[in-house]
């Protein structure tokens, strides 16, 4: 009658299996949510049901504009660090002045989009999950549905659209701030002039480097908003559940971003030779 069971040597397998199933469930749920989102975001407007402009504007500010200081500051610092590291090591090869090229290319291809996306996972992803989760707990989602107002149309669409617009912008900001950080290092310790820094930085950087980076940011935006909205809307178990959903959103978003980044890098640079 009681179902107390002794620990078994197979437990770790069961735990890994359960985690695996959890992840499959998450991928399925996020996929369904995003397909619903595309219906309400793309198909429904064609029939005259537009998403609410005011709530998109609010999210553009909450998610995007309010993230500018933190993304700018951290990217600037990373650029500064990267410049110090690269120039120090290039010096051994007698090529210390080449560091702007290295920093610029590494930033626009990889670090700008990646750092801004990870910061946004923590800042925006967590707040989306917490806000939607609290709404679930307070019966607000039920209230929306009972008034035949679809939660995806009302809550998910504005957040997904706003992040899709804002994350590439923030990635571009991260690119500029990080390269600016590198310049500050060059100017202050190596007495580099702006002209020579600029020439060095732009000589090796191509348009392709920039747009592939921004494209990645656009895709990452769907990962962040999809995962966070899904986790928020599926909260169970009160305040504790909201906490769990918030943590899960951040962890899974970062995880998904890094995996996706790996896939992109392989496809762009090895298959397509961009």
């Amino acid at each position: 009658m009681t179902n107390i069971r002794l620990p078994s040597i197979l437990d770790p397998v069961a735990i890994i299996g359960k985690k695996f199933l959890d992840i499959i469930k998450l991928i399925g749920g996020v996929g369904l949510l995003l397909s619903d989102t595309f219906f309400w975001g793309i198909i429904a407007p064609l029939t005259g049901k537009f998403p609410d402009r005011k709530s998109i504007e609010k999210q553009l500010i909450d998610e995007g504009v309010n993230s500018v200081p933190i993304v700018g500051l951290l990217s600037f610092t990373v650029g500064l660090i990267l410049a110090m590291q690269t120039s120090f090591n290039l010096e051994k090869l007698g090529a210390a002045t080449y560091f702007p090229a290295l920093v610029a290319v590494a930033t626009v291809r990889e670090l700008g989009p990646l750092i801004s996306s990870i910061i946004i996972s923590g800042r925006v992803g967590a707040s989306i999950a917490a806000e939607l989760g609290t709404m679930v707990v307070a019966e607000e989602i039920d209230a929306l549905r009972s008034m035949s107002l679809h939660p995806v149309r009302f809550l998910v669409i504005p957040r997904v659209i706003a992040l899709f617009i804002m994350l590439p912008c923030l990635a571009m900001l991260a690119n500029v701030a990080s390269i600016a950080g590198a310049f500050v290092f060059g100017a202050s310790t190596l007495d580099m002039s702006f002209a020579s820094f600029k020439q060095m930085a732009f000589e090796y950087m191509t348009d392709t480097d920039v747009w592939t980076g921004l494209l990645k940011a656009a895709v990452f935006s769907f990962l962040i908003s999809g995962i966070s909205c899904y986790n928020g809307l599926t909260v169970t178990g009160g305040a504790e559940g909201v906490g769990r959903a918030t943590t899960r959103s951040v962890v899974f978003s970062i995880f998904a971003i890094i995996i996706a980044d790996g896939i992109f890098t392989a496809v762009f640079y090895y298959l397509l030779k961009l």
């Binding site: 009658m1 709404m135 307070a138 019966e139 607000e140 039920d142 209230a143 107002l149």
Partner: protein
Amino acid sequence: MIIPELGPPKENIIVKANNLVKEFEGRRVLDNVSFEVKKGEVLVIMGGSGCGKSTTLRILIGLEKADEGNVWLFNENITAYDDKQFDAIRKRFGVLFQSGALFNSMTVGENVSLPLHQHTELDENVIQIIMRMKLEMVGLTGFEHLKPAEISGGMKKRVGLARAIALDPELVFYDEPSAGLDPVMSAVIDELILDLKKKMNITSVVVTHHMDSAFKIADKMVMLYQGRVLAYGTPDEIRNSDDPVVQQFISGSADGPIPYRTSRDLYLQTLAGIAEERIDTR
């Protein structure tokens, strides 16, 4: 007690539930619950905490699916409806949730006018007038610019009620409308329910465990106990019931067959869904 017959509702029946069964994780929360509500009637669903009142309500409004049984609203069998199919029907009824369920990012006024903005083509001025009128009905004139966080729990509930009746629904569901309200305000809500019935022939389904107000407003009553219908009938029939559990509930006394303290083992068994033998009510 006369249990409504199986099958689709007769004319004039607005809400009908047939043998509803609902299980959560193997635990039977509702067991063969049946009742019906005539147009213009007030049905009160009563019962102790956790006996499945809110779950019944959630099934009626389509937020939860029953495992077995059927639900009819306005003569349509909505048992298997999804959100899209439900859309048209949902505009015909209003719901007051147990906690009010106001949208915290909007002001009181925006909360009440939200269904008007979304589902009608009315002019903004007209919407503003209707919104103020509904707030006045629940005694909250002049509160439209406050945020939900700035008003008390009882006020939130009244705003929730104003929002539920914003579209002048034919049917309103109330989950514990008077819990958390002071006696005067809860009497006001009772009057409001009766007013809506008298003046506009609005049908109501009210969940409550507030006995005085239940007997004041009800045309029919359902008493749930451990997920089953213990009594179903008019207030007089319920009052004269010889079931000791019903009597204990009405009089609100601590002595009687309702255990106020179950043993831990029994409780865990109930949770596991293996307590076949419920507490004997005879």
